[in-house]
Amino acid sequence: MTTLRRALQLGSLAWLLAARQTAAVEPPEPVALSIGPSGIAVAEGSIDSLDVDRYVVGVAAGELLFVALFDPLDGALLDTRLAISLGGVVLATNDDGGAGFLSRVALRAGGAGSYEIAVTGFRDAAFAGVHPEGAGGAEPYTLVVGVDALPLAGEAEPNDAAAAPNALPAGGGIRRGTLGPLDVDRFSLAVAGGASLAVSLFPLDSATGAPLPSAELGDPRLGLFAGADALPFAENDDGGPGLFANLARPAPASPVQIAVTGFRDAGFAGVHAEGPFDYALLAVPIGVPAARCDVVPAFGVIDTLDIQAIFAARNTPAAGPADPRDADGDGTITVLDASQCRLQCSFPECASAPPPPACGLLGIEPLAAWMLLAAVRRRRTRRTSEVSR
């Protein structure tokens, strides 16, 4: 009876503890990343409280490893911490190196192996899952990992004019550039209809080509343009490590032109005195949605963020027949598309994550267990008093 009582007590407590944790639908970890021909791998994840996400990627000795986190709101959703380890030894960590409070880090691999990338909340310096990020519900992020050997493929000057950007491969790529005074470096990337792209600038050592731990040697400005448009649809000054830049946006058209200039050059006309300094540009399409209405990362989940994005784009033409915002396929984004997509939400009330699991089948099993224990105790007490009479 004592053993049974202890088993019931432990089981109830464990059940209660498990029920209080928010269930996040995640693959088994560590998640193995596969580096494609572009040299870049993209993974969609989410963080909730007590959660650490772990990934592994194979890197050869001497190769460069770039890691950057993005979210749909330029770092407003999560405050993360990032670590790169090899064989259990932490090689590099970062707190706020990316957009907002997101993290970014890069290093040159000293040895070959499976490098582990851990993503957690900012308070969790030990990467043990002790943090409050995502306590109100799992928050999505996009992890971009680039691996490339030295020397990196370089830019081809002159690429200052909008009419002559350096074309990146269809799946994205990593390029080394040198920005000097009066210089603008332009690249172009094809992005499938309805997809987004992520772009990061990392500082490089001019002599070795390796990533620099500090990013104060130069101050670039990053701009994204729809084709050869004169004005950028997005730009960033200091969204990356130190004074470097970082952007992730849905692409309104394809190709997207990426421009790197000095921070004072708001017109991207080369009017600046920055440099010379070397940088690595990492650009990749992200979130090619598999289904209509799935507009905003994290993809695979249709939630209020997707409905808000469709609502905000109402009365604009769809970006092609595959535009996921055009639910009814009439070629125009309208409130009707937002309304139809609301019915496609993945979770109740268009939440971003499933609701916390109920405590047991009916929610009263632990209470029933305690009541059973109390009844057993009372019965024993009654027997004892009967015997003593």
Binding site: V335, L336, S339, Q340, C341, C350
Partner: protein
């Protein structure tokens, strides 16, 4: 008999466009002084009254004479779920107010919430100049709880009659003089 029945049914169907909703303003006519504010309710009628179709989304352009009226605000109603359960947007550009709302409620909840007509909100304007002007519906996209389009059978308008502003200080002055005169006369009578 069969011919008569068929004819009667045809006439009935021709008279009332099937599935059409209406957009109207309450009041349909309003008078105000220059500098004053007017408020008009925008109402969608012809809904299912506790059954489909209910109103799940809309995007309306309300045109007005920007030389006579200035848009102040649009107060959204609660019959699409209110701010907690819908996405709302209202803004004015050069003589036109765009108001849009998408409900996040399920179709069954909308059916239970709405009657035959829904006041989607109240538009408020300030009268800038005297004269007659009109507030009318331009582009209108309406959808039911499933996101299917609702056909607009009729769209009303508001006639605004704006009169000159009443010079309040002068009016009070006149009133004061009149009160003084009455007081003097009554004193004389007493004495």
């Amino acid at each position: 008999m069969r011919t008569f029945s068929t004819l009667a049914l045809g006439l009935l169907l021709a008279a009332a466009p099937a599935g059409a909703v209406s957009i109207s303003f309450v009041p349909a006519s309003i008078s105000a002084a220059v500098g004053g504010q007017i408020a008009v309710d925008v109402v969608v009628g012809g809904l299912g009254d506790g059954a489909p179709p209910s109103l799940g989304s809309y995007d309306l352009d309300l045109g007005f004479d920007s030389s006579r009226l200035a848009f102040d605000s649009f107060d959204f109603g609660a019959l699409l779920g209110g701010p907690a359960a819908s996405l709302q947007s209202a803004g004015a550009v050069a003589g036109s107010v765009d108001v849009a709302e998408v409900s996040l409620l399920l179709p069954s909840a909308l059916d239970a919430l709405q009657g035959e007509s829904v006041a989607i909100g109240t538009a408020r304007f300030t009268v800038l100049a005297a004269g007659e002007s009109e507030i009318a519906v331009g582009q209108a996209i309406l959808g039911d709880g499933l996101g299917n389009p609702l056909r607009v059978g009729s769209a009303g308008s508001v006639r605004v009659n704006a009169g000159p502003a009443i010079p309040e200080p002068a009016a009070f002055g006149l009133f004061g003089l009149g009160a003084l005169a009455v007081a003097r006369v009554s004193r004389r009578r007493r004495s």
